[in-house]
Subunit: 348 residues, 3 copies
């Protein structure tokens, strides 16, 4: 949301805060960030990828963030910096700060009397807060959130509207959880006995570290016996499923619609593509990258990029080629046989 009362800063003020070298008028004032293509006067844009260099000439922006190699690619006022994209992220954060909490409990919220809520926290309309809950300083609880008994929220946690947190979960400071996310539902724990499923009570919790962000409609199940753990700085996109007793290492980022099966251990600084899957009970090393639509069925011990997506084709070609997949083992066998017969023939 572009706010008409947006605060503005000069390039000089920005460079004092975040570093970089100002080239051109240091008093150039910017009040919002913009893309090269759709920038309007008074905005700051950035060139993070040479692919967009052709848009630089026509941009309406007041100023540009560029890397050192692009220092002279424009005559506009600019800040030359090491990483324009990261720099842009910081300036945008400065220009678009999160809304400050409005201290207090909304009259329509239902808060158990045993809950301990920091005086400067904001509890939104129609939120429900269970018994023995602790809500830290500066938290914002959105409309319609349901927080179970014994939940602990460290300071500055932000729950958007309609988030659900089950009993006993622990949420670290500055965690952001988007709408529709469900934290701490029962893991899928069943034992078959006498031709019926017996439910295994899920008595672990979900423990979420500091600075984690959790996307809309993502689900993280509580542990079966021990806890499910999301370490600090992890970033989860929308509609991700994290099963019971998973551990996700610090600063790992996972794209939308991925699914992590029970008891999988994922390393630190991994990047996991959209709609990918991690099988249960396996271990992924630090700094592993997994491509979209790939299922990882065995542990990965070495950093690197791993892929297992089927390449698409026009349906007609796909039909012809995919039909051969069912004969692949046979095909390999026939080739081997032919090689042998050929070798015999050559020897004659």
């Amino acid at each position: 949301m572009k706010d008409s009362e947006q605060k503005s800063y000069t390039l000089q003020e920005i460079a004092e805060r975040f570093g970089g070298e100002v080239v051109g008028d240091p008093d150039t004032r910017v009040g919002q960030v913009a893309t090269l293509e759709n920038a309007t006067p008074g905005t700051l844009t950035f060139l993070a990828n040479e692919r967009y260099l052709h848009q630089l000439g026509a941009t309406q922006a007041a100023a540009v963030l560029v890397g050192a190699p692009m220092r002279d690619a424009t005559g506009l006022p600019r800040i030359v910096c090491a990483d324009p994209y990261a720099y842009f992220a910081r300036v945008s954060g400065l220009l678009n700060p999160a809304r400050a909490p409005v201290a207090g409990v909304h009259a329509t919220a239902v808060v158990d009397r045993s809950a301990v809520i920091a005086p400067d926290a904001e509890i939104g309309p129609l939120a429900v807060v269970g018994s023995d809950v602790k809500i830290g300083a500066g938290c914002v609880i959105g409309a319609g959130c349901a927080i179970g008994d014994g939940v602990r929220l460290d300071s500055a946690v932000r729950l958007h509207a309609n988030v659900t947190i089950y009993d006993g979960c622990v949420i670290g400071e500055r965690v952001i959880i988007h709408s529709g996310a469900v934290i701490g539902a029962d893991g899928f724990g069943l034992a078959m006995a006498e031709e019926r499923w017996v439910k295994i009570p899920q008595i672990g919790r979900v423990i979420i570290g500091a600075d984690v962000e959790i996307g809309a409609n993502t689900t993280i199940d509580r542990g079966a016996i021990d806890d499910t753990i999301i370490e600090e700085g992890v970033k989860l996109d929308n509609q991700i499923q994290v099963a019971h007793n998973v551990r996700i290492g610090a600063h790992t980022a996972i794209a939308a619609c991925a699914g992590i099966a029970g008891s999988a251990k994922i390393g630190r600084y991994c990047r996991i593509g959209g709609a990918s899957g991690i099988a249960g009970h396996i271990t992924i090393a630090d700094h592993v990258e997994i491509s979209a639509h790939t299922i990882i069925t065995k542990s990965i011990a070495k950093p690197g990029t791993y892929t297992g997506a089927y390449p698409f084709e026009a349906n007609r070609e796909w039909r012809r080629n995919a039909a051969q997949l069912r004969h692949l083992s046979d095909l390999a066998e026939r080739l081997r046989a032919l090689e042998k017969r050929f070798a015999t023939l050559e020897r004659k």
Copy 2:
């Protein structure tokens, strides 16, 4: 829900409204639609697929919709029409109209005093409406919906229970949004700096055109800087993820569990299968059909059907064949070598 006070119509009345030729008694009265197999007296059924022709003889329906080639396939009263399935859709819409709004704001809804709500709109129990929201004529807002600040709903929008719309989003007329859907959550925008993720504020909006329908638990993220755009007549099934800055062209239909990555542009009148994926920053032409479980990793410039699903087999055969996938390049190399040696041999 079959309503016992269902209004009924004669075939004559129906044909006057939607066209087609009545064969048999035009005063035959029908009050509900039904499948051939489970029809009860007083219902209207349809034959849209010859596969179900064998059910026609035994149907209990009062009348049938048939295409011209099936004109004489039954002795029941019937309407002969060009497209029995589309005709059935229209008759069913006539017999099962959406519930009319009950004008007014429920006593338990929490509506900001700056919100402007049409007098004939219905705001359900425990809904939350933020500041500066505009809600148009004939809208129905279900129980527990949370509508952020500055949201605009054009006329006749219908939000089922527990929908969440973030600040600033714009929803076109006659849009239907099902429960659990989240419109306008932050896109997955992150920059890595000094071994930590820096969040990029997501300041774009979601703009949804007229006559769009959005399924249960589907998520559409707001744009990073510019907007995410869903054009008119788009139909999204359940649990679809639409990332920031995607544009979906008019009248495109997407089946459940599909994921569209950031900044992808999808054409008009596309049909996208369930659990398929579209990679970020690519462009799909109009009238493209994508099969279920297919990931599209490159732009598609031509209409047609595209597929990339791995065919299933009994596990034992799959194991044997899939193992060869890891040797496919080697296999192709060996075949080439053998062809060369063979050609050499033949030349001798």
Copy 3:
């Protein structure tokens, strides 16, 4: 949640209830279950998989559940039983019973006056209950749930917070539904007419049998004309999509993120892996097992395990091998040609 006031039992008492042979002190008292690795004094652990045998020596548990072959693998007090995992499930259920309902309707719930609610049922804060709803004995309706008109809940149904049930659905006894699940939203029924989609009213219901459990953010669509049916004892994990008119047979278990397309019929006692897909209008026999990330595009008539996942590799190898998929048909053709030429040559 480990409760400090947990009730405890002796091994003798447990064996009297669930069978098995106590070896060692029968008065050994246990108050909670634990994993071998993280057990604390006073807990009962289990050895269900020889893989964890090495942890048995160091466990802090008070007692262990073991199978007959492991009878002498430990000197700890133990119960020897046929299936330690199923036995553990039952003991854990004894030690961790579901919270009893707190009878009554919360003051902030919005209940239509025509709804009939059993006196011992619990209706949580800010729940909404529509007209003509019937809620059976011992039900627990969580905070923020929205229950549409005419819904019937048999006895002892448990809805966690923020569940949505559309009009007219029928929920069997002891069903558990987790947060964010949506039961009975419209199926994806559309007909194309004059270049626009016409919505087909979805007038069927969702009928859910006894002892079904439904995971967080799972969606089950109502039938188009006839009903969608989930038979007794079915277990659905999180984020599963069940389309209109699907029928899932009794005691089938489906892992997270699976998608079942419209009108598919799935047998009894099937096990369906995570992120798998079942195409529309097909039939799956009883006792079929489907692997994760597999799409089933044709009916399956025989029990067994079926798989269609693409095996992952390091990206570099995947690139080389996957490229050949586009030439697979050609490769098979060339091999066949070579075999022929070779046979001709040998005949000379």
